[in-house]
Symmetry: C2
Subunit: 210 residues, 2 copies
């Protein structure tokens, strides 16, 4: 099986998947899709994903090629084909909680604060920033409230789970838009702990900046 991840260095959804690859130590080639140059709208990329989004995982298996899209679906696929180290550890209730936390970022925060939504809301850069900060604050507040119940060193216990793979790239966006993580004490602590791990560092945006 040959794996190739089409990604963009600064896309938070791309980072989630790069981080999953680092933890599972699955060999994968990384191919940059330059969103600033509009490569995501080119024919080559639209054949991989008609939505034009990154990340896309290309899988060559038994002479066939599969394109997997949507970061959460890609990570669930990785978890199915290689269980260890698990990103969804524990019993069914703990797994449900990891998925719920992931969704607070995946569906509740990132989609509303992203660039195309900002731009459709207003062409005024100040209003765009205000919009983005509002939704990042709302999302991280919801995460903070729920994560308090399960947090150890990381979001659920003392090992990195899928929830952290969604949280930390969202924290990176918060910092970019001047939302201080100090407003969310548990999240700030998890963010600091995550950056102590080699897999988080190895998958972070600055390592892939052109």
């Amino acid at each position: 099986m040959q794996l190739k991840l089409y990604h963009y260095w600064r896309s938070s959804s791309s980072w989630r998947v790069r981080w999953a690859f680092a933890i599972k130590k699955m060999p994968c080639a990384f191919v940059a899709v330059d969103l600033l140059k509009g490569e995501q709208k080119g024919d080559a990329h639209l054949k991989r994903n008609p939505s034009g989004h990154v990340p896309v995982l290309e899988v060559e298996d038994g002479g066939k090629t599969f394109f997997l899209t949507e970061s959460l679906a890609i990570i669930e696929w990785m978890e199915e084909i290689q269980k260890e180290p698990s990103l969804l550890p524990g019993n069914s209730f703990q797994r449900a909680r990891i998925r719920a936390l992931s969704e607070i970022v995946n569906s509740g925060t990132q989609p509303v604060q992203n660039l195309k939504v900002q731009k459709f809301h207003s062409s005024d850069p100040e209003k765009q920033k205000e919009w983005t900060r509002h939704w990042i604050r709302e999302g991280l507040s919801a995460y903070e409230n729920l994560v308090k119940e399960t947090a150890g060193k990381f979001s659920v216990g003392d090992t990195v789970t899928m929830a952290d793979l969604f949280l930390i790239p969202q924290c990176y966006n918060a910092k970019r838009f001047d939302v201080p993580l100090s407003e969310f004490s548990t999240i700030a602590r998890i963010d600091a702990a995550a950056f102590q791990t080699s897999e988080c560092q190895a998958s972070a945006p600055d390592k892939f900046q052109p």
Copy 2:
């Protein structure tokens, strides 16, 4: 194990989970949370889910109570504890595609078009409608482009999968906001086929309208 679903009749995320219960024939009590009366912001509901969202699944198991939140996480939990009938059938690639389609609605469409985002965008009802229609169109277009590759009678083959549980409630929102499904020929066909099934009918909003 005792199950209780806190839901709202018109919430598309609630419908997804009601439909999953209908398909899996798992016994579950339904408890309405009246969003119009603001019950989701009351102490009783915030104890179930600090985000105040519906649906929430309350599970009594072995003397303990668990609250499961986020529709996708709830459905994945149901799939784990009762495999059949499966909402994620097929091999790992097909399951990844079902999850990717679900995500186009779950993270790519519904969160941006929902009421609180509409209202934060503008207080003008006409601008709210324009906003909502724009994002529903964008989301359903992305779904249409991807679903063409796998659609049989339903989104992936000829049985209802998790993807349909996300699509059809989104189609219901499209109709509410006068986005004609005829713009998306495959989706329109799947929508009609879904309403021929007893589980879709039994879980639909009108069956739970107060």
